[in-house]
């Protein structure tokens, strides 16, 4: 992978990020002309108090000045102050980031592993009962809204069997350390994680299956088989690594979207992550916070794009040269 390739990709991502930051400003300031309305959340206050608030948030400046101020602040990592909490947006987002990262990270690992295994087995035993079942299940989960899956799991495991908690990240009365606390957290993590895992594994299985089938049609595998290599060896040494490429790229690419895609699932399970933060920000019309969240979600996609591009470049020799 040449340095030029890496450089081009990184610069492209930075340009995208800048475009998003500019877009972000206009989305909020142009469409919504007076954010001070949301500052007051429906409370009526005298005009002079409003003027003071406008000044405090720099809203009495011209749009151009506001824009430069916004750009300078964002460049310095200052995303403004949440209207609702009065704290820096970065702090509020930082607090909610980890629960989401854990949930999304763990479910991505699981769905990737399961999806890949399913896809490999399906492709290798094409048209077997396993293949049919796996493809059927995959398409079914692909067509299922993940929040609906969450509702079904919640209804079954939490409300009917009463096996698992109905929501949250930990029991409020639980102890603060030790193995029981760990179990408590694992219990809370189980359902939302299962929901996202099932929600995404089907897609990965389908992609893995089709890319493996494609690879298997290629000449070098026929050659390998002709050389008398055993099927299992052919599969492990040659077919799977080559077929992994598009799947891994897709998983990485998806990661950026899963972060925001988990919003609805977090809502179902009261998971205190970015999804919940988004929901309360919407509810309270907390525009600085929403703006920050939008930036984070978009930046995640850009980052995922970059990583996936670089990964592709690293793994695929054809790109490495170019």
């Amino acid at each position: 992978m040449s340095l030029r390739f890496v450089g081009r990709k990184v610069v492209g991502s930075i340009l995208s990020l800048i475009a998003v930051i500019i877009f972000n400003f206009f989305l909020f300031r142009i469409v919504k002309s007076d954010p001070v309305g949301s500052l007051l959340r429906g409370r009526n206050v005298p005009p002079d108090v409003k003027a003071r608030l406008r000044h405090q948030f720099g809203l009495d400046k011209s749009k151009i000045d506001q824009f430069w101020l916004y750009m300078r602040q964002t460049a310095r990592g200052n995303l403004g102050v949440s209207i609702q909490s009065g704290r820096p947006v970065t702090e509020d987002i930082g607090n909610s980031l980890w629960p989401t990262i854990w949930l999304v990270g763990l479910s991505t690992v699981l769905s990737t592993i399961i999806g890949l295994l399913m896809g490999i087995k399906s492709a290798w035993q094409r048209n077997s009962w396993f293949d049919r079942l796996s493809t059927g299940v995959s398409m079914f989960t692909y067509a299922t809204p993940d929040f609906f899956l969450g509702i079904l799991l919640l209804a079954f495991f939490a409300f009917t069997l009463k096996l698992l908690p109905t929501g949250g990240i930990e029991s409020p009365t639980g102890s603060t350390g030790g193995i029981s606390h760990l179990i408590d957290q694992a219990k809370h993590l189980a359902l939302p994680c299962l929901t996202l895992t099932i929600g995404y594994m089907g897609e990965y299985a389908i992609v893995m299956r089709s890319s493996l089938l494609e690879v298997m049609g290629e000449d070098f595998l026929k050659v390998a088989r002709a050389r008398g290599l055993r099927d299992a060896l052919v599969r492990r040494r040659h077919a799977v690594p080559n077929a992994m490429l598009p799947t891994v790229t897709l998983v990485t690419l998806n990661l950026g979207f899963v972060l925001s895609g988990a919003i609805a699932v977090e809502t179902v399970f009261s998971w205190p992550g970015l999804g919940q933060l988004t929901e309360t920000a919407v509810h309270n019309q907390d525009f600085p916070l929403l703006q920050g969240l939008f930036l984070i979600f978009t930046a995640a996609v850009i980052l995922a794009n970059l990583v996936s591009d670089l990964l592709y470049g690293y793994l695929d020799p054809r790109v490495r040269v170019g």
Partner: protein, 306 residues
Amino acid sequence: MTVAPPTARKTSGRAIVRARRRKAVAKVWATYRRSPQGMVGLVVLVVIVVLALAAPLLSSSKGLDVTYTSKNPQFAHPSLKFLFGTDDLGRSVWTLFIWGARISLFVGLAATIIAVGLGAGVGVIAGYAGGRTEAVLMRITEFFLVIPFIPFAVVLASVLHRSLTNIILVIGITSWPGTARLIRAQVLSVKERLYVDRSRALGAGHWHLVSRHILPNVMPLIFANLTLTVPIAILSESTLSFLGLGDPLRISWGVILQNAFQSDAVSLHAWWYYLAPGLGIIFVALAFTMCGRALEEVLDPRLKDI
């Protein structure tokens, strides 16, 4: 240039084209018919579309007006009178389900038409024009490709008010870039084909080239893409409605699910309230996906093995 071409020739020319197209469609259909998943998907779709279109015959729209159902029991189990039970306001979930199908399908189709129309337009122009136009258009496409749609929809719904139109717009605006990339690639390959070159050499104008050569060749792809975008749009609608960003007075399947969740149907074990609309979404999305995959196979024989 010919002066007043004889009409007879013109019609016959058209007739030939028409006949050729009819034949092509018949061929596609013959292949499609052999795909089991394609046929299953099509049957499910037809059933649901008929159900949605026949909604006024199956259940009066008065059943949606809460002032007419205020004597019905709330959260009633499914029974002969209420096929799918009742909701928290005493409305029959069956009535909500078939009327909701209309809104869900409408949003799905409308958003798809926007997305695919926009995507195909950008893709064809970029692919055909090339050069700077292409570079600019693809840059814009890439920009929209990184906008995650739920946060974008959340933001738009917050700055605008909640309405069906906004939901359609949001889904349309965020779903087109994939189509644009796909169509552009196809246009690029069509452009290189010999007969297009010949046509160009013969002095055909841009419009002629695009409408006679490029479009007919990318049309099947656009159509397959259309079929595959509908399920995404329907799923998106349900998610946005579930997050409370839709119009609560226009009942779609997503709105029913949101109402069910908000009125605690889950802990009240009122499974009938959320099961029907949820399964409705799954089946429609699945059916469209199956049709789309079958179509793709028919239109692109290379995929047949996969």
